[in-house]
């Protein structure tokens, strides 16, 4: 009976999902225990007692800790305040139209040649200089940032480590408990999250979901959502020669499948070509050698 109620709750959640989120796929996937949806259904009670119960404050601690480790691995922020401000404006423009608009978001350009973007829980979003340099307009930047905001909104990183020992019982940490066994569990969880975000990658279903969220969010903000297609096509052209370790190539699903799903999703937006792309404003801040300068 309990399982039936949980199933009902999970199905209700799926039923409430917008059509663009590929709900038919999700319903079909419920039958597959290896899919994201199947795992959520079978472990619904675990999910409900973990990521959905973590307070925003604890989520911020997780995100800030992960942000420190990210900079240690990928490099410091690019030393260009105008660029950082611009990326924050684009990011916040899409974030305020996301499904989780009430938390503050921060967007950071990291001085790394590896083409990547990733999001820490709590709303700190990173994009590398390497990825920024292959973009050509503001809509493309908005698409990348909206994809990452989608991960934050749906708490994908937290759900990916929902079986972490830290999340059993009261999932909170204080400066005092950081030194004890709860602190060890917290560190172990951050390590697992790093491994997922930077090496193994999130569940493919989560990536497809973030792509569709990006289309919807960029469209509703007023950017041309087909920018997501051009970003993926650019990455595809880079794939043969790019650094794979820790990049979008190693942590994201195959580009052909993403392109196909994005193309299907774009059919929802027939007037997309009339929307903003803004190559000139993008070039003013992100081109002209500013973003490509390395800082020591």
């Amino acid at each position: 009976m309990k399982r039936l109620i949980v199933s009902l709750a999970a199905l209700s959640c799926l039923a409430a999902l917008p059509a663009h989120a590929g709900w038919q796929d999700k319903l079909n996937n419920l039958m597959n225990p290896e899919s994201k949806e199947g795992k959520i259904l079978s472990g619904a009670t675990q999910v409900l007692s973990s990521s959905q119960e973590m307070t925003y404050q604890t989520e911020c601690t997780v995100g800030e800790s992960l942000a420190l480790d990210s900079m240690q691995r990928f490099g410091k922020p690019v030393n260009n305040e105008a660029l950082q401000k611009y990326v924050n404006l684009v990011g916040n423009a899409v974030a305020r139209n996301s499904r989780r608009s009430t938390i503050p978001y921060r967007f950071v350009v990291l001085d790394s040649p590896v083409q990547n973007a990733f999001a820490a829980p709590g709303g700190i979003v990173f994009i590398s200089r390497g990825l920024l340099n292959i973009l050509d307009n503001e809509a493309e930047l908005a698409a990348v940032l909206a994809h990452e905001v989608g991960h934050v909104a749906e708490k994908h990183a937290l759900k990916s480590i929902r079986r972490a020992q830290f999340l059993q019982g009261a999932a909170s940490i204080t400066a005092a408990t950081m030194k004890g066994s709860k602190g060890q569990q917290f560190e172990s969880m951050i390590g697992d999250m790093q491994s997922t975000l930077f090496d193994k990658g999130l569940d493919q279903g989560m990536e497809f979901e973030a792509d569709q969220a990006a289309l919807e969010t960029t469209y509703r903000t007023g950017y041309d959502p087909s920018a997501m297609t051009t970003v993926l096509e650019k990455l595809k052209r880079q794939e043969a020669t790019a650094t794979k370790n820790g990049s979008w190539f190693s942590t994201h699903p195959p580009l052909d499948e993403r392109l196909a799903r994005v193309a299907a999703g774009l059919k929802k937006y027939p007037d997309r070509a009339s929307l903003a792309k803004l190559p000139t404003r993008f070039a003013k801040f992100a081109k002209g050698g500013k973003a490509s300068k390395t800082t020591k």
Binding site: L27, C60, L68, N97, E138, G222
Partner: protein, 166 residues
């Protein structure tokens, strides 16, 4: 029996998805307008999480009805066909309060965080990890770099984006 129940649930889910005539406010600072224009008169302020009934789909502008019966237009970009994610404002095991209350909690925790820099918990994590001082300062700078709603609106206006498009 199991299969029958599951099939019925799938049909229920599908019917719910197809029959959705509701929209939810997802953006802060959303207003109900008298006409399909950003410069039209404001009829009401619509808080994040407010449920609206769709009356007419006018493309980029939607005619909607609020819970208290007011009718007007809202820019389509500011609403979604799924409710926004609720925040856990505090305590354990419960979703924290109303959407507005969680916004207050969020704002409080965020302003406190900006004043003091890294949270004590993050600072403790950094200390145990031997995180270089320079990286802690970088994270401080990241957290201090705020963007106001007014700045975002100006940015969208300058770019003629969304409701500011011609």
């Amino acid at each position: 029996m199991k299969k029958t129940v599951f099939a019925a649930l799938l049909m229920l889910a599908a019917a719910t998805a197809f029959g959705a005539e509701k929209r939810w406010v997802v953006s802060e600072g959303t207003t109900l307008k008298s006409e399909q224009s950003v410069s039209a008169a404001n009829l009401a302020d619509l808080p994040v999480g407010a449920e609206l009934t769709l009356v007419e789909d006018g493309g980029r502008w939607l005619k909607v009805q609020t819970a208290d019966g007011k009718e007007g237009w809202v820019y389509a970009g500011r609403v979604a066909d799924a409710a926004p994610v609720a925040e856990v404002g505090g305590g354990d095991g419960l979703l924290g309060g109303t959407m507005q209350q969680s916004q207050i909690n969020t704002a409080k925790s965020d302003s406190a965080r900006s004043i003091r820099g890294l949270s004590p918990e993050t600072a403790a994590y950094a200390k145990q990890h031997g995180t270089p001082e320079g990286l802690k300062k970088e994270l401080d700078r990241i957290l201090a770099r705020k963007v106001s709603d007014k700045e975002v609106k100006t940015f969208l206006k300058e770019g003629k984006i969304g409701e500011y498009a011609r």
